[in-house]
């Protein structure tokens, strides 16, 4: 089903912000520790399986998924429920009943009602925002143990009455007499009943994300073939990682009535021939983005446990990585919507005093990554759009998203950020690297993890 694959409101979720995070494992290279700043470590990261929307998580609400991730994290780390100081979650399409989804998930998970929790939103990098919020809380000495994560469900979306209908209904509340009520009711027209779907377009530009992405690939001259190849790569790598048991961050979740899920279900390795047959979905008939080269609608939640290094060591944990640095940048939402990684990468590297070559692991959100690679490799773009003297450089693709990415694993908007971070950390350990760079668009920034 094509619609399932379409990045419905990708635009809404990938706004103009970009994020990049640098992760470090201490080895031979510089530690990147900053004098006077607490070392902040990632103890563990988990996520629920990422599933196609409308499949097994069909009956879950967002807080159910968030709770599953939270409980999974606590179980995996054996962290006592009263040891958590704070909880932050990111999400994009909010369920109005649980607008502070972090708090609902925490309460549901049996975490003390005395532990505060809040929810943040920043399109596709909402979870990154949650993580950096946690970093800020720890660095400022407010907290020592923070759970940060993200959640999204596209199986259920708040579909509203039209504005006119809502207005009538609200006025109806205030009507006192029967005749007043009848007058109001008589004003309702058939058109009032048209439902209002969550905006499928960027609010400021009225453009859907897929449309914007297609224009972006055209602007950078990314061919259909290149995109198909990249999609093929993503699915193949994900499949390989899944089979090899590398996706150790995936929890097993019991879905009432549907059994236990422990695997992502969107990974579909196929052949280049099959990919070539797909028709463009956004710009027809001459666009280049197909269902394969865009993320499908996904449900899922993720969580990471962050602590100050002292606290982690005191509690007997062996930290997986240091979170060293991050930046968020913002761009023109019309023409530069998905270019976050290009802007954020050089900034975070400069801030940390290292170069592209020093990085061992790259985990980038796969939203128009090819355009970003071309942008980073272009002197014209660097000089004209980024105000830099020369291009950022060629990103070594052999270090990028080796365990699959958003195209194959899926992209639950609010949850992807924490998945990227966890994947980067796990890859650092597995591959024996020292620095990992995480970048995502919609909001931009990157974090350096130093382990």
């Amino acid at each position: 089903q094509v619609t399932n694959y379409v990045m419905v409101s990708a635009k809404k979720f990938a706004r103009e912000n970009l994020f990049s995070l640098l992760l470090v494992q201490t080895k031979s290279k510089k530690t990147l520790a900053k004098p006077g700043v607490k070392n902040i470590v990632l103890v563990e990261g988990v996520r629920t399986p990422f599933l196609l929307s409308g499949t097994i998580y069909n009956d879950f609400m967002a807080h159910d998924l968030a709770r599953a991730a939270l409980l999974g994290l606590l179980n995996k780390t054996s962290l006592p429920k009263d040891a958590v100081d704070y909880i932050v979650y990111g999400t994009v399409i909010q369920e109005v009943k649980t607008s502070n989804v972090a708090r609902e998930a925490a309460l549901g998970a049996g975490i003390s009602e005395k532990i505060p929790a809040h929810t943040v939103t920043m399109a596709c990098i909402s979870a990154n925002q949650a993580i950096t919020t946690a970093v800020g809380l720890i660095a400022a000495g407010q907290c020592d143990v923070v759970v940060a994560g993200g959640v999204e469900t596209m199986s259920d979306m708040p579909i509203r009455h039209s504005r006119k209908m809502r207005k009538t209904m609200l006025t109806l509340n205030k009507a006192k007499t029967l005749s007043q009520r009848l007058t109001l009711l008589s004003k309702i027209r058939l058109g009032y009943l048209t439902p209002e779907l969550p905006a499928l377009t960027e609010f400021s530009t009225n453009e859907t994300m897929g449309h914007s992405a297609d224009r972006l690939t055209a602007a950078f001259g990314v061919s259909r073939r290149e995109q198909d190849e990249f999609a093929f790569r993503s699915h193949s790598l994900a499949k390989k990682a899944q089979d090899a048991g590398l996706l150790s961050d995936v929890l097993s979740v019991n879905v009432p009535g549907k059994g236990i899920v422990s695997k992502d279900n969107g990974i579909r390795p196929s052949s280049m021939e099959q990919l070539e047959k797909l028709k463009p979905v956004f710009i027809k008939p001459h666009g280049t983005i197909t269902p394969a080269s865009s993320s499908f609608l996904t449900d899922g939640a993720s969580a990471v446990l962050l602590m100050s290094e002292e606290k982690a060591l005191a509690m007997g944990y062996k930290p997986k990585a240091y979170l060293r640095d991050f930046v968020f940048v913002s761009q023109d939402p019309k023409d530069q919507l998905l270019l976050g990684p290009s802007y954020a990468t050089p900034e975070v590297l400069e801030k940390s005093g290292i170069t592209l070559d020093d990085i061992d692991v790259f985990e980038f959100h796969e939203g128009q990554i090819l355009a970003n690679l071309k942008a980073m490799d272009s002197d014209w773009f660097a000089q004209t759009c980024m105000g830099r003297k020369s291009k950022v450089g060629v990103l070594p693709i052999e270090k990028l998203n080796l365990w699959g990415g958003s195209l194959s694993l899926g992209h639950p908007f609010g949850a992807t950020g924490a998945r990227l971070v966890t994947a980067a950390v796990n890859r650092l350990k597995k591959e024996g690297g020292q620095y990992a760079l995480v970048a995502a668009c919609a909001a931009g920034g990157q974090v350096v993890f130093d382990l």
Binding site: F203, S204, T205, N206, H211, D214, R215, L216, A218, A219, F220, G221, I283, P285, H286, D332, K334, D335, Q336, A371, K374, A375, S378, W380, F381, T384, C385
Partner: protein, 763 residues
């Protein structure tokens, strides 16, 4: 005048930002066959697609000039002869222009209708070949595709256009008194249906790409791209070419169909148009509407209908013949010459002849949030200028801000901007009651009440709080600028900027300089006016400057005619049938009777008996009774909200009766009534040139047409004198002078022209 609303369709039609017919310099009629170097058209073959690129050298736009047509024909022949080429893409190398139309110089150089007809037939033949091309031709359109450019594209088998704001399609020929003369009247009805075709050709309006797609004028749209590895304009054109090449290949391998599947509505419409009776009804209705709007004064729209009719009823051969012959005839009409002259004048008045100002106006303050002040704010705030709108009372201020909001919201409803753009634009507008922030202001435009002492007061207040470079522009319709500047410490920074109401609709801006106004101040004011999208005339200071001064004697004569017992409705009919977009009496009501009285008094003081005519008592009595015109709901007419019909105000009739004068029969025929009004207007305009208020006749014509609604087909008062004959006009004026006295004395300049018929304002 504060409220001149000359809103006839034909005075509004010159809004095109795009060059319809560029005055292109290459008028090369001696075509040497030995010339093989091509400068206008080039091509390359990509796989099996020939990509033909159009690029007029030394010009910002492409026009269908003689050399370009010649080279195009050569290239097409080569392409057709090349067996390896399976399809063609036609594209422009210029970023904002596909083809902006035919070269107007080419038409102007013709001396007879036959020559123009021959040109038209050349074009028809060339496009017929394109239409019958054995291999498909895809027109890839980015930027303006107007007139002959659109006709060219229509002849191609497939059209792809970018969704850029610069991409507009249209047949603006009607605005120049011409018709689409290269097959447009024949192809358009077949392509978009009869009603839409008439709409496009008779209004000459610009159609944006998305609308064009809906109408069926283009097959596919391509999105403009942002900056990537190259500049966005450059890459967008490259992308358009890539996509067009893809379509060309697709057409050849049959994966892209050439015909669109028709919807039910379309089928129904086609069926209806197949019935001769229905078509006859459409011709009738359209003709009637045209007659209503033009009073039959403009020949071009009627000829367009004739051509379409000939093509559909008598076959295309007859249609093409009719088109080329009518094109030739129209090109020779005085109406077309006048309209072309106006177009050229308009282009000239969109340039800053005072050079680039030292500083750009980035922060503007407007004093007075009335109709005028808010209108000025509206046309400025969306041009990247921060605007302070200051008033003295909250009610006035909020009304003014609402007016600006409504203006932009209307654009949102029309989908020409997004609600987000409206909001960001509105956030550049600050409404306030005090002078805070004036220390950052580069220019102040005051639109406060027309009273010298009030103007002096605000001028002093403003100068006390603004930086030394700040320009003080006064929006007055009659007070001499030098009198206002007398209170200034920096008279070199004082200038007049006379806007016309409603500011967002009226295109004219009259800028008035005093002897002391510095050149840089003038340059700044012109630069801002151009940013606001205005057509600008720059005149010298004097009572009433140029526009108000021309209008005043005409209004005095109008009053006289009313006193002589001519019915207001009849006067309106006589003036509109002369070509004014709005009847003269309605105009007076629109301007405001109080304003007219006020200006009348000032002008009489300055010009004495030349402003004789009606008795000023009539208007002062009306003002006393509160009949101040449209704004009060009562003037000579009664205005009721929601009702379009206007009834005579009986109380005003009473007043007129009280001041009734007898009408001398020798000068009271319908035609005399018209010429009494017009001759005084025209005489005053010439006097302005004679006295040096105007720097040239062209600005005088532009000011009269765009500011006061002088009939566009006459081209303005100066062109009118040229065409009508100065001697004939002087004769008429002499007759009136004998009856009424020296308000009808022809000025020296007019007399000079009358004596020597070789003297013309336009060569």
């Amino acid at each position: 005048m504060a409220g001149v609303r000359a809103a006839g369709i034909l005075s509004r039609i010159y809004t095109s930002r795009y060059c319809l017919f560029a005055g292109h310099a290459s008028r090369n009629f001696t075509v040497s066959s030995a010339v093989l170097v091509r400068s206008h058209v080039s091509y390359e073959v990509k796989d099996d697609v020939a990509v033909i690129r159009i690029n007029n050298p030394d010009s910002k736009v492409n026009t269908l000039s003689i050399p370009m047509q010649r080279e195009m024909a050569e290239v097409m022949n080569e392409v057709w002869a090349n067996g390896a080429v399976k399809s063609v893409v036609l594209i422009s190398s210029k970023p904002g222009c596909f083809i902006a139309g035919a070269d107007i110089n080419m038409i102007q150089a013709c001396r007879s209708a036959e020559e123009v007809t021959a040109l038209s037939q050349e074009g028809q033949k060339m496009f017929e070949k394109i239409e019958k091309s054995p291999i498909p031709i895809v027109a890839a359109i980015n930027g303006s595709c107007l007139g002959g450019g659109l006709e060219f594209a229509l002849a191609c088998q497939y059209r792809v256009a970018t969704k850029s704001r610069k991409t507009v399609l249209g047949t603006p020929e009607v605005m120049l008194g011409l018709l689409p003369g290269a097959g447009g009247t024949q192809r358009l009805p077949k392509m978009v249906g009869l009603p839409s075709a008439f709409d496009v050709m008779l209004t000459g309006r610009n159609i944006r790409a998305d609308k064009a797609k809906k109408m069926g004028l283009v097959h596919q749209l391509v999105d403009p791209l942002g900056p990537g590895l190259k500049d966005s304009d450059v890459r967008t054109v490259e992308y358009l070419e890539e996509v067009a090449v893809g379509f060309a290949k697709g057409i050849v391998n049959k994966s892209i169909p050439l015909t669109k599947r028709k919807g039910i509505m379309q089928k129904l419409q086609d069926y209806a148009m197949g019935i001769p009776f229905v078509r006859q009804q459409i011709y009738k209705t359209v003709t009637k509407r045209v007659m209503n709007q033009t009073k039959g004064l403009y020949p071009a729209p009627l000829k367009i209908i004739e051509c379409v009719k000939a093509g559909l009823e008598k076959g295309s051969e007859a249609g093409y013949l009719e088109e080329s012959q009518n094109f030739g005839k129209l090109a020779m009409t005085p109406e077309s010459k006048a309209l072309v002259g106006l177009y050229q004048g308009q282009v000239a008045c969109k340039k800053n002849r005072f050079g680039t100002p030292e500083r750009e106006v980035k922060n503007l303050a407007i004093l007075g949030a009335g109709l005028m002040g808010a209108g000025i704010a509206q046309v400025t705030v969306d041009k990247g200028v921060n605007v302070i709108l200051k008033d003295t009372a909250t009610e006035g201020l909020s009304r003014g801000q609402d007016q600006v909001y409504k203006g932009f919201n209307a654009k949102v409803k029309k989908k020409s901007i997004t609600s987000f753009e409206r909001d960001t634009t509105m956030s550049c507008l600050t409404g306030q009651l005090d002078y805070s922030g004036f220390e950052r202001v580069d220019m102040v435009i005051e639109a406060v009440f027309e009273d010298l002492s009030i103007k002096h007061k605000v001028l002093k207040e403003v100068e006390a709080v603004t930086p030394p470079h700040c320009i003080f522009a006064t929006n007055t319709s009659g007070l001499p600028i030098k009198d206002i500047a007398a209170a200034s410490k920096r008279p070199e920074n004082v200038i007049g900027m006379h806007y016309f109401s409603p500011v967002d609709k009226m295109q004219l801006l009259e800028i008035i300089t005093t002897d002391k106004t510095s050149k840089d101040t003038t340059a700044s004011a012109v630069a801002l006016g151009l940013k606001q999208g205005k057509i600008i005339i720059v005149v010298k200071d004097g009572p009433g400057f140029y526009t108000t001064r021309c209008l005043s004697p005409m209004l005095a004569e109008l009053l006289r005619l009313l006193q002589e017992g001519v019915e207001p409705k009849k006067l309106d009919l006589l003036t509109t049938s002369f070509g004014l977009p709005v009847g003269a009496v309605i105009l007076a009501d629109e301007v405001g009777i109080d304003v007219a009285a006020h200006v009348g008094k000032t002008m009489t003081k300055a010009f004495g008996s030349r402003l004789d005519g009606g008795n000023i008592e009539v208007v002062t009595t009306m003002v006393e009774k509160g009949f101040t015109g449209r704004k009060a709901g009562k003037g000579f007419y009664i205005y009721e909200k929601g009702s379009k019909s206007r009834n005579i105000n009986p109380a005003a009739e009473e007043i007129l009766k009280k001041f009734k004068l007898s009408a001398p029969p020798s000068v009271s025929s319908d035609s005399d009534v018209q010429y009494r009004l017009v001759s005084r207007f025209v005489n005053e305009a010439l006097l302005c040139l004679q006295e040096g208020i105007l720097s040239n006749p062209m600005e005088g014509d532009i000011g009269a047409v765009f500011g006061l609604g002088f009939p566009p087909f006459l081209g303005g008062p100066f062109r009118f004198v040229d065409a009508f004959g100065a001697d004939k006009l002087v004769q008429k004026m002499k007759k009136y002078e004998e009856v009424y006295g020296n308000q009808f004395t022809a000025c020296q300049l007019l007399q000079d022209h009358a004596k020597d018929s070789s003297k013309k304002f336009y060569k």
